[in-house]
């Protein structure tokens, strides 16, 4: 039995073992299934990241490019130790929304758009082709190496994988994957069995590589010291290794661990508990560290001991053979087989789910190949679609390998796939952190990035060698040199990968941002954006979409077609029970429709689930409440309305002031009219009297002397009255205009008050009014004009006499001086001044209505008094009083004579109320 046959038998036996494990894991009772749902199994399943590329290719990479291979593991390490930011968020959302794939995740976020999902799927499929090809090539080559173990121990570097072998391997992988990935009719549950098998393969990879590594250190070399000593001539690190490419590859591998469909599958879709991430956060990087650690001595010793021209990608296998350790070689082969098969299985499961959910299903729904209402088993249809998709994916991989690209090193093929998968990164990060990102941006970014990647990296690998392509690559399409695929915009990077990565991610991100900024998101996009970006702050869980109505029977019919009758029944029954409803089917409301949509989404993806539900329920509306809540517009609206209220308050106040001012203006206008007529009347009365007496005197010359004299006396008295009246008006004008009179002088206000009371005695006696004086202000001095002050007192006193009580009228006059002020009050016991008049009493032309009948002045008395007191720096106020009107005159005192000269003119500190 040759080594190759032995390897084949081992591989088949191993595959059988895996089936057994998967079978047991799936059939185990729930209790024991928990064992497979452990954080360790979860972590090991994530290490499906380490494929043949790692197992075989990393050694080749280390041999060719030194420590560069570490970048492929440092990127994921950084992502996992930073689990708190990104991984946890994606995981929380995926678990909440029963996300089925990366395409489902992206499309869910961007409004459950099937366009976005289809683009991601196509991109992932194209990018997967090189990756699958890499696995096929690795297994095929490893078989050939084992077969040629006798004659060509190094495995020639130029060895081209045998097409027949590769084809058989492809068919074998397809069968293996179909049996594994689409065994169960139930496509909804998580794949316990597959995860368990992947975990075992991860252990085999680790053990095999560590074994080969130990052989290299202690079998081939004389311990670690020897290895490092030989490092100088092989993988000696140089400073230029740590340049732009180092950074670019770390970024690329970090993006790949998030964006590769199979990594998304194991990390987020198959996850059993969020707690498991806490273990994987450090254990997975540790797994990568251990693998990387043992790759180094294998590369060093392989280069040191194997014959020149050996294929460095096969060192892991050829070194044990050369060392005569067939057992370790067999283990290494098994490790490589495990790496390849686990990758192919998980990739195919992830991709076939994406293809069936996001390409086949939407097409079928549109072309009515699948009828949701009556007839047709959707479940079986989906399963067939997935199986066909698996075959298609593997065929793509096989064909890719057959192209010119198949001859490249494993690592360089893998990096092409990474760069393709990384095009999802902007849309993914935008989905998590930017609420403004929308469908248009996602579509634009994915298409731009995918196109640039395909043009600069993917197509050259498969079309390179064709004359047409080579001509295009050399001169640029249509002779446009700046569009050459290896030198876009004239950038001569020298490194096609970095060149492609730079331009694809740059244009991708630009298109994503610009696309998002140039369109407002639709309601469903806004809802999903908030649910994704604020997954940790929204406690309400998934948002509600309202207005979708259907009967429970219709919904059940739909559900059982997708999930099978038993499962659908169980879901309906359980939901009814959880609501406390005794019926078989729950009453249909928005919450139940949303619940059912989520369950369907777990099978067919969010976009298809939404389309199916809509086909039954009709159109939907996202409630305004919901939108307001998610957009946090409540806060904004409240602020806005507060501002409106504030503004309207201001407007209100201004309006009130305006109204008041207007009222005053009207009242002033009225007063002026009244005054004019009053003045006319007042002037007319003496004038009429003078004229008529003058006419009598002129017209009757025979008038007797006594009569004539009496008439002349009347004319004289009327003239005096007229002059007084005109004086009063002039006074008013002078005082109002503030024109300077005589310079102020010290005045004894008490003396002025005495004089005023004396002047009013005649008037008061005639009216029968008693004036009582009390208080004393001896030696008080104010600055001003004595006659003016006297005029003020007379005005107020005469008003008190005129408008005071008709019987038993008493006017009380008090005065006092102190605290810098001289204060005099004059109080009558009359009817007082009504409140509505109190406001205008000091205005010009105003006169008390109560006194209209006995009015004699022009209504300027109080206005003049008020103006005079103001000019003296004092105040004249109408004081509240129980009986009658009470006026208070308050004037500033002069402390002593020395400052008298400084006081030139009294200040006008108080503005007049008029």
């Amino acid at each position: 039995m040759s080594l190759r046959d032995l390897a084949l038998a081992t591989a088949l036996g191993f595959a059988l073992l895996l089936f057994l494990v998967a079978f047991l894991a799936d059939r185990m009772p729930g209790e024991r299934q928990r064992w497979f749902a452990s954080p360790l199994v979860y972590t090991l399943s994530i290490s499906v990241y380490c494929t043949s590329w790692t197992f075989y290719g990393a050694v080749g990479s280390a041999t060719r490019d030194g420590l560069e291979y570490l970048t492929i593991y440092l990127g994921p390490t950084l992502v996992f130790i930073g689990f708190w930011s990104i991984l946890r968020k994606i995981l929380r959302i995926s678990r909440r929304d029963s996300i089925t794939s990366i395409a489902d995740f992206i499309s869910s976020r961007y409004g459950k758009s099937d366009t976005v999902a289809a683009i991601v799927t196509v991109l992932a499929l194209v990018a997967a082709a090189p990756y699958i090809a890499l696995q096929i090539k690795a297994i095929a080559t490893s078989f050939q190496v084992l077969g040629a173990a006798g004659e060509d121990p190094g495995g020639s570097a130029s060895m081209v994988p045998d097409t027949a072998v590769a084809l058989w391997i492809t068919v074998g992988l397809a069968l293996f994957t179909i049996l594994f990935g689409t065994r169960s009719v139930d496509i909804n549950e998580r794949n316990f069995g597959v995860v368990a098998a992947i975990a075992i393969e991860a252990l085999v990879k680790l053990v095999a590589l560590v074994a080969v590594g130990l052989l290299a250190v202690y079998g081939v070399a004389d311990g670690p010291g020897d290895v490092f000593a030989r490092m100088a001539e092989s993988v000696q690190p140089r400073p230029e290794d740590f340049g732009l490419r180092w950074v670019g590859l770390i970024l690329l591998s970090g993006a790949a661990i998030l964006c590769l469909p199979r990594q998304f599958q194991v990390t987020f879709v198959e996850n059993q508990s969020e707690r498991h991430l806490l273990t994987a956060a450090w254990l997975f990087p540790l797994y990568l560290l251990v693998l990387s650690l043992f790759i180094l001595p294998i590369a060093v010793m392989g280069q040191a001991t194997l014959p020149p021209g050996s294929n460095p990608d096969m060192t892991v296998l050829t070194m044990p053979i050369a060392a005569g350790r067939t057992d370790i070689a067999l283990l290494a082969f098994l490790g490589g087989f495990s790496s390849a098969t686990s990758m192919v299985i998980v990739s195919c499961i992830a991709l076939s789910t994406m293809i069936s959910n996001h390409i086949v299903m939407p097409l079928a729904l549109r072309s009515s190949a699948v009828r949701l209402e009556g007839g047709g088993d959707v479940q079986r249809f989906l399963l067939r679609a997935r199986r066909a998709a698996i075959c298609f994916i593997l065929l793509c991989g096989f064909l890719y390998m057959r192209t010119g690209a198949g001859g490249a090193g494993l690592a360089s093929i893998g990096l092409i796939a990474f760069a393709g998968a990384a095009q999802v990164l902007p849309a993914l990060l935008g989905a998590l952190y930017w609420e403004g990102a929308n469908r248009r941006g996602a579509v634009a970014g994915l298409i731009a990035g995918g196109a640039v990647w395909a043009y600069t990296l993917f197509l050259p690998t498969i079309l390179g060698g064709l004359d047409a392509w080579d001509a295009l690559a050399a001169a640029g399409p249509e002779g446009l040199a700046w569009l050459r695929p290896d030198a876009l915009f004239g950038m001569q990077a020298g490194d096609p990968l970095m060149h492609a990565l730079f331009w694809s991610l740059l244009l991708n991100t630009l298109a994503f941002v610009l696309g998002s900024l140039t369109r407002l998101p639709t309601p469903i996009e806004r809802l999903q954006a908030a649910l994704f970006v604020r997954v940790f702050s929204d406690r309400g869980g998934a948002g509600t979409v309202r207005g979708r109505a259907a009967s429970a029977d219709q919904l059940f019919d739909l559900a059982q077609r997708i999930m099978g009758p038993d499962r659908a029944y169980a879901i309906f029954r359980r939901y009814a029970a959880s609501r406390g409803e005794a019926t078989e089917f729950p009453s249909v409301d928005d919450a139940f429709v949303a619940h059912l949509e989520r369950r369907l989404a777990a099978s067919v993806g969010a976009a298809s689930a939404r389309a199916m539900i809509l086909s039954v329920t009709g159109s939907e509306t996202i409630s305004l409440d919901e939108l307001v809540r998610i957009a946090d517009e409540t806060a904004r609206l409240m602020e806005y309305s507060a501002e409106i209220t504030r503004k309207s308050d201001e407007v209100e106040r201004a309006a009130v002031q305006l109204r008041a001012a207007n009222e005053r203006l009207r009242s002033l206008d009225r007063q002026k009219d009244e005054f004019l007529s009053q003045v006319s009347h007042e002037l007319r009365t003496p004038m009429t009297s003078i004229r008529s007496f003058t006419e009598i005197l002129v017209g009757t010359p025979d008038l007797d002397a006594r009569e004539r004299e009496r008439f002349i006396d009347i004319i004289h008295a009327e003239s005096i009255r007229l002059t007084g009246l005109l004086d009063e008006i002039l006074d008013m004008a002078v005082i109002e205009r503030g024109e300077p009179e005589r310079p102020p002088e010290p005045v004894d206000p008490a003396a002025a008050l005495d004089q005023a009371i004396d002047a009013c005695l005649g008037l008061s006696r005639t009216a029968g009014v008693r004036i009582e004086r009390s208080g004393a202000a001896r030696a008080a001095r104010i600055m001003g004009n004595r006659s003016r002050l006297t005029q003020v007192f007379i005005n107020i006193l005469s008003n008190a006499i005129k408008y005071g009580a008709r019987e038993n009228a008493v006017i009380r006059v008090t005065e006092r001086a102190g605290e810098g002020s001289y204060v005099a009050t004059i109080t009558d016991n009359g009817p007082g001044i009504p409140p509505e008049e109190a406001r205008t009493i000091f205005d010009k032309f105003s006169r008390g209505r109560a006194g209209e009948t006995v009015a004699q002045g022009a209504g300027l008395g109080l206005a003049i008094s008020h103006a005079i007191v103001e000019r003296l720096g004092g105040t004249l106020r109408l004081e509240p009083s129980d009986t009658g009107a009470r006026f208070e005159i308050r004037l500033p005192l002069v402390a002593d004579g020395s400052v008298l000269n400084d006081v030139q003119s009294p200040k006008r500190s108080h503005s007049s109320s008029s």
Binding site: I81, S85, E274
Partner: protein
């Protein structure tokens, strides 16, 4: 930020800072400093020691952090 209760703010900040710190230490110019010349410690090239040592330190850091943050993740397996 309405984050659920549990781990201290410091632990959460550290969880965000750890990968940032790791990135800064792993990329040029810092990493290039250790690759100059043929510096070796006990026969091991300095940059190899630096990279693997840093890697291990980051893993230990993550391990300690996950212990601190352990109380938060809901242990919900559907």
């Amino acid at each position: 930020m309405a984050e659920e209760d549990g781990p201290s703010r410091r632990a959460r900040d550290l969880a965000i800072l750890l990968p940032v710190l790791g990135t800064v230490l792993l990329v040029p110019p810092l990493v290039g400093l250790f690759a100059r010349g043929d510096a070796r410690i006990v026969g091991v090239p300095l940059v190899v020691l630096y990279l693997f040592g840093l890697w291990l330190a980051l893993i230990v850091g993550a391990l300690l952090l996950t212990r601190r943050l352990g109380g938060t993740a809901p242990d919900a397996a559907e």
